[in-house]
């Protein structure tokens, strides 16, 4: 009798919990698409993943960024960003923090522009497809942001980014901004890195 009771409890819990999960955790019905799909590339190389990051940004598709970024993602800011945003917990910047940043940023009504040559500047170095499931780039990127009031800001930085092969796909796993770089439209001034955006929208 006691064994039957235990078995009943066990079965009840093991069956009910997943069932409850299935019932309570249904997604909403999406609207049928009215536009073409964002043409993401297969995640079969670091170059494709970097391009997918650009496509996710310029299309404000947080799902695209989520797919491109590793679950073990780490971001390290440059010195100027650390000084400007001392209240941000940079040492614990991980994938969930990165997705909070992306969600807040995309929800702020901005328009993001960066073409392929800006996102991977020709002055970038070592932008190869890696070896042994690992690639490390020394990249210079540029972004132009326009908010809902028409105010525009630009960001250009030099960063060390790393890609790793996890499971069967490549992911962006590490991003360390090193320094802000020259403004292409005003060569006498230096622009901030994307660390300024992460500091603003990351919490």
């Amino acid at each position: 009798m006691r064994t039957t009771s235990r078995l009943s409890t066990l079965v009840l819990v093991t069956v009910l919990v997943p069932l409850a999960g299935g019932c309570l955790f249904g997604t909403r019905d999406p609207e049928p698409p009215q536009t073409a799909a964002i043409d993401y590339l297969p995640r079969s190389s670091p170059s494709n993943v970097w391009e997918n990051c650009r496509l996710a940004l310029t299309n404000k598709d947080s799902g695209g960024w989520d797919t491109a970024v590793s679950e073990n993602f780490v971001y390290v800011p440059d010195g100027a960003t650390e000084t400007s945003f001392p209240g941000v917990a940079w040492a614990s910047w991980d994938k969930p923090t990165e997705m909070t940043f992306i969600g807040n940023w995309f929800a702020s009504g901005v328009t993001i522009q960066s073409d392929q040559a800006q996102w991977k500047d020709p002055a970038s170095q070592n932008t190869n497809d890696g070896s042994g499931g690992f690639a490390q780039w020394d990249v210079i990127y540029f972004l132009s942001i326009t908010d809902s009031f028409g105010s525009s800001t630009r960001y250009r930085g030099r960063a060390v980014v790393e890609f790793t092969l996890e499971g069967s796909y490549w992911y962006l796993s590490y991003w360390r901004d090193e320094q802000g770089e020259q403004d292409p439209e005003n060569p006498t001034s230096t622009l901030a890195t994307m660390g300024a955006l992460r500091g603003t929208f990351g919490s």
């Binding site: 909403r28 999406p30 799902g63 000084t83 070896s131 490390q136 009031f149």
Partner: protein
């Protein structure tokens, strides 16, 4: 009295001493221009602790030499000096540093501590150097077990200066010098554990002078102010297992602020009020805490856009790029943590609510509100040979914004998360367990009144089953199977074309076999396949094709310890990976995929450690990797092969020399790296990694 139980005093002590509950931290505004110089860092604290340890050892020596009685004499006694110097180098930077600390005891139980530090960083990958200098002097009127020997309060007199200079030259050759200096001096008085009837109180009051100057991107800034703070923390252990604690904190800073040629008075006021009930009674433990923080600040700032980003290029005609900003912030928080043990059942809950409102007078950000409700409930209980746990988590946050001069709010941006997890462990038979886990999480982004197109649902569902067995003391084996599903659903038609579901299946057996006292073998096999299915791939406009990826992996590790001084490790890792795209579906609904690429990665590693003496150890390691990828396009294919490798040799040293009772310590780890391959650059193909520290206390 019943409430004088040890656990109550312990509880009160923890409550009152808890750094997390410090109101000073809560009221500190998140901005460098008003933030006080940083408190003692972990490294500095460790250094000061070592100094304290040396002082205690010195007293013990003197006590032993004097027949058990330490006899301090004069106004100053028991002086300890602790110099240290070192180098840390890695592929990114080289850091040189030196510190000097001395501490002297003062008659009446007080102490005087001076610290001086210098560091210089040279970056290997960048044209960048960073130099830091700091000095600090602190007088404490009392410390240790009886800190009130001289005065009824602990008096702390403090003066410090920190200087830093960061010179960076960017890729275009443009040089930026970022320089800052912080000077701070002041006094504080603290009375701890003041018992008045049933009340236990901590009282603190302080006054400081601050001066912060800086230059960045050619713009100078300066802030000079005086800071007055006061805090009262009170504990009331009013019944057995029940205690109440309150805290009240207030601060005020008044001074002058200069930024980019503009001057203005600056003022910051902040206060925190908190009250908490703590219980440990009848099988239940927990706390219920409410706190409120208010903060107003007037300061000079750069003009900012609606998102809070500095925007000095879109300045309206006639306006300045610098504004006199007034920032106001109000926040409150409620936390209830509870644990209950009822027979075999253990229940744990954590509930929290936070609300924050922030408003700017000049920034186009305007006013922002943020609210968060979270709950976490866990129930764990045994059923016969099984142990079960069920967890439910809930999070509902929203934020809203009313831009400056706007007549209505933007609309709330919601984030709703729900998660349920189920854990199961069953002891099957001797040394063998079966573990199961199921988890599902739904995360939803919702924009009120559709103020953006970013509505999105993400559903994650995962399950795993693991059989593990310690078949003998020398043999461990496990077998795990897992399933993961991720649905990524954009709700709005502008983004829904990419909606997709990813499903992953994995089987992973592994074993560890200790063949003898000298040799052990570990092998892990992993087979993995993932499918990505697009929900609207049937629509011609979508043009997305379903894909699959599969990967097999064998990792082998052999460890050989021929004697106590030598360890040899050999590892081999073999990966094979195939990518494909769905090519067709036949009349019976069977799907066929075409292969897009094959990849094979081979990696072999060798590590060797030889303990030359108890103080010196020699180490070396190397790896070689071969990566071959074959890509198919129609009837043609291309093959690329990459090879990479690395070798490092190094040593670890832990040596003391000089007087036996007061030795000079040298600890070091140094490695020389040589590497080749596509990831290797001029700065990483041949470099030294070092961590050297020489220290002494006398």
């Amino acid at each position: 009295m019943r409430w004088r139980r040890p656990e109550i005093w312990l509880l009160m002590g923890l409550l009152l001493a808890s750094p997390a509950a410090s109101p000073a931290q809560e009221a500190t505004p998140p901005d460098s221009t008003t933030a006080a110089p940083s408190d003692t860092t972990a490294a500095e604290q460790s250094y000061l602790d070592a100094l304290e340890a040396r002082l205690r050892a010195k007293r013990a020596q003197e006590a032993a030499a004097g027949g058990g009685e330490a006899a301090p004499g004069g106004l100053f006694h028991d002086c300890v000096n602790a110099p240290e110097a070192g180098v840390k180098a890695n592929v990114t930077r080289v850091n040189y540093f030196g510190n000097l600390a001395n501490k002297v005891q003062v008659a009446g139980g007080g102490s005087l501590t001076d610290t001086y530090g210098y560091s210089y960083d040279s970056y290997r990958r960048q044209d960048r150097t960073v130099e830091n200098r700091n000095a600090n002097a602190t007088y404490l009127s009392g410390e240790g077990q009886d800190p009130y020997g001289l005065l009824p309060v602990i008096l702390r007199l403090e003066a410090s200066t920190n200087w830093s200079e960061d010179v960076t030259v960017n890729t275009a050759g443009s040089r930026n010098t970022k320089r800052s200096q912080t000077r701070r001096a002041g006094v504080s008085a603290t009375r701890s554990r003041l018992v008045t009837g049933p009340l236990i109180q901590n009282l603190t009051a302080g006054w400081y002078y601050n001066n912060i100057t800086g230059v960045n991107l050619g713009e100078a800034s300066e802030q000079t102010d005086t800071e007055t703070t006061g805090a009262v923390r009170t504990g009331i252990p009013f019944a057995r297992g029940l205690a109440l604690a309150t805290r009240l904190y207030g601060s005020r800073r008044i001074g002058d602020n200069a930024l980019a040629g503009f001057d203005s008075p600056t003022k910051t006021t902040g206060d925190t009020l908190g009250i908490g009930g703590y219980y440990n009674r009848g099988g239940a433990t927990g706390k219920l805490v409410v706190s409120q923080v208010n903060f107003d600040r007037t300061y000079l700032d750069y003009r900012r856009d609606a998102n809070g980003l500095i925007d000095t290029t879109d300045v309206p005609d006639g306006a300045e790029k610098i504004v006199r900003e007034l920032e106001e912030r109000d926040a409150w928080q409620l936390n209830w943590d509870n644990k209950v043990a009822l027979g075999r059942f253990n229940f744990e809950s954590k509930l929290a609510h936070t609300y924050e409102k922030q408003q700017y007078n000049q920034s186009l950000v305007g006013a922002k509100e943020r609210s968060s409700d979270t709950a976490s409930l866990t129930l764990a209980f045994p059923v016969g040979n099984d142990s079960l746990s069920v967890t439910y988590k809930y999070e509902w946050t929203w934020d809203d914004q009313r831009f400056l001069n706007a007549t209505a709010s933007r609309g709330r941006q919601y984030l709703k998360k729900r998660e349920v997890a189920f854990g199961w462990v069953r002891h099957l038979f001797r040394h063998t367990d079966l573990k199961g886990r199921y988890r599902t999480e739904l995360s939803q982004d919702i924009a009120q009144n559709r103020f953006n197109e970013n509505d999105r649902d993400r559903l994650t569902e995962e399950a795993s089953l693991e059989l593990e067995s310690h078949l003998s003391p020398r043999f461990y084996a496990s077998l795990e199977g897992s399933y993961l599903r991720k649905d990524d659903i954009a709700i709005r038609s502008t983004l829904s074309a990419n909606n997709n579901v990813k499903r992953s299946y994995e089987v992973s057996p592994q074993y560890t076999w200790t063949i003898s006292d000298k040799v052990s073998l570990q092998q892990t096999f992993r087979m993995y396949i993932q499918y990505q299915d697009y929900l609207y791939d049937a629509l011609e406009s979508v043009r997305k094709e379903d894909t699959f990826n599969k990967r097999g992996n064998v990792a082998t590790k052999v460890t050989y310890d021929p004697n106590d001084r030598i360890e040899i490790i050999v590892k081999h890792d073999l990966n094979r990976k195939n990518n494909g795209t769905r090519a067709a579906t036949d009349l019976a609904g069977r799907e066929s995929y075409r292969r897009d690429s094959n990849q094979s990665i081979n990696r072999i590693e060798f590590g060797f450690t030889y303990d030359l003496t108890d103080e010196v150890s020699l180490q070396t390691a190397t790896f070689r990797t071969e990566d071959e990828t074959e890509r198919f396009s129609g009837t043609t294919s291309s093959l690329t092969a990459n090879r990479s490798g690395e070798l490092w040799v190094g040593a670890v040293l832990d040596q003391s020399f000089g007087p036996r009772d007061n030795p000079v310590s040298f600890k070091g780890r140094i490695k020389r790296y040589l590497a080749y391959g596509p990831n290797v650059t001029d700065t990483s193909n041949d470099y030294w990694e070092a961590d050297l520290l020489l220290k002494w206390a006398f």
